[in-house]
């Protein structure tokens, strides 16, 4: 953050491209719906799309295929979609406000924090309700983020993207080790491992009923604040010059990030790289205006996670592959590419 403000930021020229942005959004939504239909129909038992249609709009509980779709696959894929949206939007916000192209809830300690908090909860508060799990997950994500950014603020002269990413790696290592230690001490290692590698396979309507409104509110809130993110992405000085109360805006945006990442982690476990990749791809398509980046990130994040989960289900059927591993295989080359560019984005 100590680097100079990029030249183009001085001119405040946001590439607002409503035609491109709008068509990307619409096409993305269509692709997401198509992918959802495909994801629901393929799997251990192949079901044709017409049956899927009937199961959704005219369910008949006595038919096995309908039951598979409404009870297992639909909540699972909807879960994947909202989780992907939540990760991607929180990544986009983080990249905007920290001006760090490597920002991602997984890389900056939020996921490890949530994992640690959940390990504590499994140890001291077994059998908690899903609501509690999600709340604990928020607190943990906040702890992880607080440690990383606290560490950032300790450094004289602020932190470069590279260093804040390293801080994230160290905080993640620490919190993961603490979580593992607690899990081992209380003999919960399997519970925790199950959740860490869990993926979206266990998502049912019950979790969705709690998580969906939270994530939906978070995304709408993020879209509503997107102008503030665009201004912050010019840099602190410019934002202040434009009359923004930067601290307040940042704090509120960080809260959205915690809510989104916490809710997503509580469903799917710690998954990195979705929040890193999707906003980058979206920026390439729609430019630098966060009023388009945020909603498009939500749509493409959802699309990406549904695809990843479908691959994870099919690649080694009938066994499940952790979706986090599939995401990493795509995400890590991307991360390396960005790291090679020197974290300058």
């Amino acid at each position: 953050m100590n680097s100079a403000i990029p030249k183009e930021a001085g001119k405040h020229d946001v590439f607002s491209r409503p035609v491109i942005g709008g068509s990307v959004l619409v096409l993305g939504l269509i692709a997401l719906l198509g992918m959802l239909a495909l994801a629901v129909s393929v799997g251990a038992a192949d079901i044709d799309v017409r049956t899927v249609w009937q199961a959704v709009f005219n369910p008949d509980p006595s038919k096995e295929a309908h039951a598979i779709i409404t009870d297992i696959r639909l909540p699972r894929e909807l879960g994947a979609a909202i989780v992907g949206a939540a990760f991607a939007v929180s990544g986009a916000i983080m990249q905007g406000i920290t001006r760090n192209p490597l920002a991602d809830p997984g890389l900056l300690g939020l996921n490890a924090g949530a994992t640690f908090a959940l390990a504590c909860m499994f140890a001291f508060l077994p059998g908690a309700s899903y609501m509690t799990i999600m709340f604990v997950s928020f607190i943990g994500a906040g702890l992880g983020a607080g440690l990383v950014f606290g560490l950032g603020s300790l450094t004289p002269g602020g932190m470069s993207p590279i260093r804040i990413t390293l801080a994230g790696a160290a905080v993640s290592a620490l919190l993961t080790a603490l979580g593992e230690g607690i899990a081992l001490y209380f003999k919960l290692a399997q519970d925790l491992a199950f959740w860490v590698a869990g993926g979206v396979s266990g998502t049912g309507w019950k979790q969705l009923a709690v998580a969906f409104p939270v994530i939906a509110v978070g995304i709408v809130w993020a879209v509503a604040s997107s102008r503030g993110i665009t201004i912050l992405s010019f840099g602190e000085e410019v934002a202040k010059g434009l009359g923004q109360r930067t601290f307040l805006t940042k704090a509120l945006l960080m809260l959205i990030v915690l809510v989104l990442a916490g809710a997503a982690v509580s469903i799917v476990g710690p998954i990195s790289f979705v929040g890193l990749m999707v906003p980058h791809i979206v920026r390439m398509l729609v430019g630098t205006d966060y009023r388009w980046i945020i909603p498009c990130s939500a749509v493409f994040g959802g699309l990406f996670m549904v695809m990843a989960d479908t691959v994870a289900r099919l690649v080694n059927a009938p066994y499940e592959t952790p979706v986090g591993a599939v995401v990493s295989i795509v995400g890590i080359p991307f991360f390396l590419y960005l790291a090679r560019k020197g974290g300058r984005g």
Partner: protein, 340 residues
């Protein structure tokens, strides 16, 4: 710079002696404690060959090999970390953070999956197999961190290492799904950094690597001193920088990989031990390398003993305990470095 005052050398010797004494005390404590504690008289009797069958079993079959592995692996990782920090001129370098441990881990897991049945080959093949994985990871990191004209800039090197480590650990995770339960158990323990090679053949497999390679590194102290300076200075001082750097990195990878292959993935030892040693006796490699080796042995042995005693019988893996100390230290180091 070669003009070293005698009192510094004397001080280094005393500190090294002190560290060795701490290691010996720790060794005795570790031998005596655990699910079956042995009193000093029992220990003595057993060492002299007059122990009961149970005492013999506990001491010679269970504890001694595991303690030996802890010490050897700790020393190997510490020396590997020292080399990497000097050669890359990056105080944050560590074989674990850079992904070399993960590369070795991936090939160890592959090896275990395919050759576990073949016991004659198993222990001795392990370090070699680990070495190929470690070298592969080092090569990948180099390729990705290299940029024309700038070379491998230190911070980028570590950043790329973090990514490579994540990739390799992901690959290990993917493999683990297809494992049968016995292999999976092995793998889970390996990943958490539990000293798993707790049998004499593993000691025999690791010992030559440490005993042969560590003195080679010590003999290269002068070169390391020079490489730690800026590249232009080293060329000016007549060191064939590229060649020496290549040899030293190879040694670091070999030490880290062979250690990790029998001890499990223990991060941060290669970071902590050299830093502690340097702050005690200064940056001269002749002084701080041997001390780093001893401190590494102390760290891993202390971590493994604590984990073993704290939670009987399964224990908390040494890797977790080292991380609890190492990660905060890493953060502190980072916060102290001037921002870039």
């Amino acid at each position: 710079m070669m003009d070293v005052r005698p009192e510094i050398i004397r001080k280094t010797r005393w500190i090294l002696l002190g560290a060795l004494l701490v290691l010996i005390a720790l060794f005795v404590t570790s031998v005596a404690t655990g699910s079956v504690s042995l009193s000093p008289s029992q220990l003595w009797r057993t060492v002299l060959g007059q122990g009961t069958m149970k005492e013999n079993l506990v001491l010679f079959e269970f504890r001694l090999p595991r303690i030996m592995i802890s010490m050897l692996a700790g020393a190997g990782l510490a020396v590997a970390g020292s080399i990497l920090q000097s050669v890359t001129r990056n105080p944050l370098a560590d074989p674990g953070i850079l992904g070399i441990n993960a590369g070795a881990g991936l090939s160890v897991v592959l090896f275990v999956m395919f050759f576990r049945a073949d016991h004659s080959l198993f222990q001795f093949g392990l370090p070699f197999f680990a070495l190929t994985g470690g070298l592969g990871a080092a090569l990948l990191i180099h390729v990705f961190a290299w940029r024309k004209g700038e070379g491998a800039e230190p911070n980028r090197l570590v950043l790329v290492g973090v990514g490579i480590a994540a990739a390799l650990n992901g690959a290990v995770l993917l493999l683990s799904i297809r494992m049968d339960p016995e292999d999976y158990d092995f793998f889970a323990n390996w990943l958490a950094g539990r000293i798993w090679g707790d049998d004499w053949p593993y000691v025999v497999a690791l010992l030559p690597w440490i005993v042969l390679l560590v003195p080679v590194v010590f003999a290269k102290s002068r070169v390391l001193n020079v490489l730690n300076l800026h590249e232009h200075v080293s060329v000016g001082l007549g060191v064939r920088v590229k060649r020496e750097r290549f040899i030293l990195i190879f040694l670091a990878v070999a030490l880290a990989s062979s250690s990790v292959s029998v001890s499990g993935g223990i991060p941060f030892v290669g970071l902590l031990a050299p830093h502690m040693a340097r702050s005690l006796v200064g940056p001269r490699h002749q002084g701080f390398l041997p001390l780093a080796a001893v401190l590494g042995a102390i760290l891993v042995l202390a971590a493994d003993t604590t984990g073993r005693v704290l939670l009987d019988p399964s224990g908390i893996p040494a890797g977790i305990i080292v991380t609890l100390i190492g990660a905060p230290y890493f953060m502190w180091l980072m916060a102290r470095q001037p921002g870039r």
